[in-house]
Symmetry: C2
Subunit: 407 residues, 2 copies
């Protein structure tokens, strides 16, 4: 389903052994919910049922959430929605942007609305709900009859509103953090809404959890890149449909690994800043920097094998210089560019790892998502940091409320 | 139109003086076309006329291009198109992604197609043209009657095809590089197609060229960030509509500044890797890294002043915890978050500069685009590198063709 094709750095058996132990320690920790999700069929069944009910309102959906509550669903929406209009992602408190997504209020006489916040207290999501109410109330004063909430099963501002308005609430598991939530109802409900089988994501996730060697190799390679002082990790994905996979990866990596202190209160080891790039697009933007800039990067290239057979170019060539591509496919060009980029980078002494994902099916995607979640959790265990909190985001939130209240 | 609000680092008068001289040297170089564009009314007039002609085919447009030929127009399309479907940007040789943009072939019985490549030889753009032909030929065998080419006025594969099929060709000025081309017909034709006045972008651009002190301050601040060994420059923009401004900035910075050699053949000085982020969205993803990770970043925050008055939240509050926002706007929340993020970062010792752009009007946007082009060119002059080539991208291209031909 997923394999490492090439890597410029080899890992010693002792590095692999210690990474393996870190990966095992993650799966031994029963307080972590994310790796136990394939064993919770009730969450899958609830997601499917909720999606079916929303579909009765038509096939369009607005999703309100931010960070871990939007990046996973956004990736799945990019990959699987039948049109760019099917799923609108309202993930920023930006009034012009939201109005662009919403379009005309009349369009929302049908369609559904899902509000996602683990804590139920996310200011951007609650304020966007309020703004949407102002926007749509003239068309349907009780629009929330077509709404759904995904939140922790606790009393909080969002679930209290849901209770008052009789909006159904789907469970955001308390033992799964926002950035580890794509395989909870957060992602599964949206995938089901688009007609994808939620069970298949879980089969893929289970596949990854059985491939300890793959996860351990990625943990060991990541640690080795830090030892080489490669302080930028580029997740370079060769398909535009994976663009928001890159954004999801950036959050997972950045929030989980960059910590001031270890679990023992000592200064935490330095980790890299993650950057997402898209091939071949970014071969026309940032690659000059990677090729000729400082050797401070580790490039992880993701290719999708099935693309190579897609996009036939035919033999009726309009432009003679395309001769080498006659009767080939556009996907084959993209694949050749991915391989060539890896070779060119390696040739310049840039560290590269190539990962091939079989296809864009739910099982492959479920495998990819669970694999990286496990790797990041394993990295946290290796670095002895808490990969599941995010203390650095609190100060900004407090200051924003202070500014708003005029203090 | 644009001003620096706050900065954590102060610049000495000698730093500012030397940056000023670098900025002046750019405007003294008559071989550089980008800063002379406001003096070329013919390009503006041609862009407007071409856009008017394309509008006769309906108000939808597919744009084929990559890198400098797509990032500028993509930013403008995000900002100004009346719906996400109006302008489709085909900027990757990804077959599944392109088919998602194209939708049903029948939809393209109307609409227009523009192919942009400075050299006329960009493999991804030519191959996508070929693929589109295979896709749409059954619906309209001579679809190119509704096409336009933007390319250098020279014989090349794209202009030869245009000549053969009688497709009009709009001039891509030979003295303007791809990543400096947004204020040529590349961006102006698309903006005109969306009903925006091309002249206003140029008025804004001219405004920036008169504000030498602003450009010099940004050059000096950038150089000072390199002296502080801040090897990641984050362009953090507080509006989702500016997302592709960030991508445009990344290309401009990365391709222009990361060079192996100076113009004298000496090893070039080290520069930063640019990263784009969006607020408030990325306050839920990468900010943990910026707050608690290594102090290797300079954060440049862009705010749009007019947003603060947009998105009224009303007084009929659905959720009691929104009380501090009663009768305020969503844009005010976004602005408070931008300010709070800058304060929180500064409090943690992260270097920050805040830039305020007045609004999203063509003149403000034209000013912003010209300002950063001037700053990057000025940085190139300061660092004594060629900011206008990209030698590091060639090896990958050669290797891709080798792989495709089976060698």
């Amino acid at each position: 389903m997923i394999k490492i094709d090439n890597t410029t750095a080899t890992i010693s058996s002792s590095q692999l052994q210690s990474a393996t132990e870190a990966c095992r320690s993650v799966l031994a920790n029963k307080q972590l919910g994310f790796w136990q999700l394939p064993q919770r069929p009730q969450l899958i069944a609830d997601s499917i049922r909720a999606a079916q009910r929303l579909r009765e309102n038509g096939d369009r959906l607005l999703l309100f959430g931010i960070g871990g509550s939007s990046l996973g669903p956004r990736f799945l929406a990019d990959l699987y929605s039948h049109s760019p209009q099917q799923i609108g992602i309202c993930d920023n408190a930006d009034p012009l942007y939201l109005e662009r997504i919403w379009g005309r209020a009349e369009d929302w006489k049908r369609g559904s609305f899902v509000f996602i916040s683990k804590s139920g207290n996310t200011i951007e999501t609650l304020a966007s709900l309020q703004r949407f109410h102002e926007y749509v109330r003239a068309v349907d004063a009780s629009w929330w009859k077509r709404a759904l909430v995904i939140s922790e099963p606790k009393d909080n501002p969002l679930t209290q509103w849901a209770k008052e308005k009789q909006v159904p609430v789907l469970e955001f598991p308390v033992d799964v953090g926002g950035r580890f939530s794509v395989l909870t109802p957060v992602g599964l409900m949206v995938a089901s809404f688009m007609g994808k089988k939620a069970e298949e994501f879980m089969q893929g996730a289970a596949w990854s959890l059985q491939h300890e060697k793959l996860a351990a190799e990625l943990v060991a390679q990541s640690l080795a890149s830090f030892e080489r002082k490669e302080w930028i990790t580029m997740f370079w994905t060769y398909s535009s449909l994976f663009q928001h996979f890159g954004d999801w990866m950036v959050q997972l990596w950045a929030e989980s690994l960059a910590k001031k202190e270890t679990v023992n209160g000592e200064p935490a080891p330095r980790v890299s800043t993650p950057v997402a790039a898209i091939g071949a697009t970014d071969q026309h933007s940032i690659i000059q920097q990677v090729m000729e800039g400082a050797r401070d990067k580790w490039v992880v290239i993701h290719r999708v094998a099935e693309l190579a057979s897609c996009g036939p170019l035919g033999k009726d060539l309009l432009i003679p210089s395309l001769k080498p591509l006659q009767n080939q496919t556009l996907g084959r060009l993209l694949q050749a560019e991915a391989q060539a980029t890896a070779q060119a980078l390696a040739h310049q002494g840039v560290s590269v790892l190539e990962l091939t994902v079989q296809d864009t099916s739910p099982s492959s995607v479920g495998a990819l998502l669970m694999l990286w979640q496990w790797v990041v959790a394993g990295l946290g265990a290796s670095l002895r940091i808490n990969a599941f909190d995010q203390p650095g985001v609190e100060l900004g939130k407090r200051l924003a409320l202070k500014i708003l209240s005029g203090q």
